[in-house]
Amino acid sequence: MAHDIALTDILQRRQKIMDAFQFLGEDQQAKLEYLMDLGEALPSLTAAQRSEENKISGCMSKVWLVHREEKGVLILAGDSNTVITKGLLSLLIQLYTHQKPKIIIDHDFSWLQTIGLYQIIGAQRANGFAHMINRCKMVALRYYKQKV
């Protein structure tokens, strides 16, 4: 599944994710399978990219995030040694890639509660997910500060 970068508006992208989970309703197993599908579809990083520097600490599994800027927007890619975490990362990238740093910095993640993700991935992984979100915001902040 490629990321729909055509949807430039972050709120539209968010809606798309919410719709997908809403469709799956209360079926936790299906949500997990969906996350795994996302994870399996996300292209892997090269061994070189899976460096200590790119690693996000605080997650149960190993997670890497790479980034570059292109014409004022941030381009993100990532990988993980577990498929479900890769799926989570994929959600994040889906939302954030090809966005302006300021938009990433300002985005409020409280809507995640509504899609029941925390229930299915559990407290510990939710914690790890928060670390991923943080890393994205930190990266965005760095680019943003360079510019201003």
């Binding site: 149960m60 229930q119 559990g122 407290a123 510990q124």
Partner: protein, 416 residues
């Protein structure tokens, strides 16, 4: 015997109703529980929370791979966050779960103090201390050659602050002091003591076992370095204590115990430890007690410390007034109700404290007698024990009236 009139409208609440054990009969008499300094009773919410834990989400925590474990983990961390806010700690990393006040003090003695203090350094305690805040320091003194000094009390049981000023020197590296005396109910001027100790670069541990249920705690405002208490003395379950420590101190401390949960990486020749708070929490903690303690905190917060203090203060005033009128009763320590909480230590002339305790018990009244785990203080009064009445928020004027009447009867029959 008159009881205070209904003008005290805050007394309307029947808090005892939430405590199943208080509905009980002891020897066909309703239980009057006045041993709250030893342990408080538990409201039904706490008991139900334990049941809920075991019936709905019992699981081992950390590194959770499954839902139950995830729920249990979140609940444990929720309790930590509640405690942090409750006592106004700066971060949740400063809240460590232990087995009790005793374990928490031993932890600080065996990690922080053992590492930071050297032979000849001095630790100040007071004559008011519970054994839990004496023996760990004696053990350390023996092991490390640090010197234990004791702040004396004045004849009314309050701390001798002049003596404290004298004892506090450049050699003092640690002050370990009880917040409220478990025997006399006297509240120590800890803010002043902390300030003076800090001015001398001494680190302060406050034993809050008797304060947590009775007055608001603010570790940041007081700038206290370590603060310890037990859940079971604050309407919570047994087997759980809390160590608050300033992050800077907790971070410099080596781990106390080794085991699961406190390590990040283990090989057979060495281990890397987890960050705070986990570094100091080895093994499976008392998960059920931690989860259920939330309900105890909620119980306290729902009533509010203002009201708790008002109720307990009124009960104390009433009890002391009645007791002071009985010539055969000796009260220990100041009776100035501005300086103390609802703990009253007494003896009956010509009677042994054990006999008084047992005779009260036969009337369904539970008090504690003996050395009360504060032998140095009891020795100071040159008696071999006391009878201690200690109040909680669910006690009533009727409890007091019945108890005083019982004491009068006992004195009439058996006193000299």
């Amino acid at each position: 015997m008159p009881t205070p009139s209904s003008q005290d409208s805050f007394l309307d609440t029947n808090l005892a109703a939430a405590f199943p054990i208080l509905q009980q009969k002891i020897y066909q008499k309703s239980l009057i529980y006045l041993d709250n300094a030893a342990t408080t009773q538990k409201p039904i919410q706490v008991i139900q929370a334990l049941q809920q834990y075991y019936e709905q989400y019992n699981a081992n925590i950390h590194r959770a791979a499954h839902t139950l474990s995830s729920i249990a983990t979140r609940n444990v961390e929720d309790t930590r966050a509640m405690i942090q806010q409750w006592i106004n700690a700066a971060t949740t990393e400063e809240i460590i779960f232990t087995q009790g006040t005793t374990a928490a003090i031993n932890l600080v003695a065996q990690t922080y103090a053992k590492q930071q203090l050297n032979a000849g350094d001095e630790i100040l305690i007071s004559l008011l201390e519970h054994h839990a805040n004496i023996v760990p320091w004696q053990m350390l003194a023996q092991e490390k050659g640090v010197v234990l000094k004791v702040i004396p009390v004045k004849t009314d049981g309050t701390l001798d602050m002049d003596a404290f000023d004298q004892l506090l020197t450049a050699k003092t590296k640690m002050v370990a002091l009880v917040h409220i005396s478990s025997t006399l109910g006297i509240i120590n001027p800890i803010e002043q003591i902390i300030q003076k100790a800090h001015a001398r670069h001494a680190v302060v541990l406050i034993d809050g076992a008797q304060s947590i249920a009775h007055m608001p705690i603010d570790v940041q405002q007081w700038d206290v370095d370590f603060f310890v208490f037990s859940a079971h003395k604050a309407y919570g379950p047994t087997g759980l204590g809390i160590l608050y420590g300033k992050k800077q101190y907790l971070e410099m401390m080596p781990p106390y115990q080794g085991g699961g949960g406190m390590v990040a990486h283990v090989t057979t020749h060495q281990s890397k430890y987890q960050p705070l708070p986990y570094k100091l929490e080895a093994g499976t903690p008392p998960i059920a007690s931690i989860c259920a303690f939330q309900e105890a905190i909620r119980f306290i917060q729902t009533i509010g410390y203002t009201k708790i203090q008002k109720i307990e203060h009124a009960l104390l005033v009433y009890a002391q007034e009645l007791l002071q009128k009985i010539p055969a009763i000796t009260l220990y320590g100041t009776t100035d109700v501005k300086k103390k909480i609802g703990i009253i230590a007494l003896n009956v002339q010509g009677m042994h404290h054990l006999d008084v305790g047992l005779l009260l018990d036969a009337r369904g009244i539970a008090v504690r007698t003996g050395l009360l785990c504060t032998q140095p203080l009891i020795d100071y009064w040159q008696v071999d024990g006391m009878v201690r009445i200690s109040l909680a928020v669910y006690n009533t004027f009727q409890d007091i009236a019945i108890t005083v009447q019982a004491l009068k009867n006992i004195i009439q029959k058996h006193g000299t």
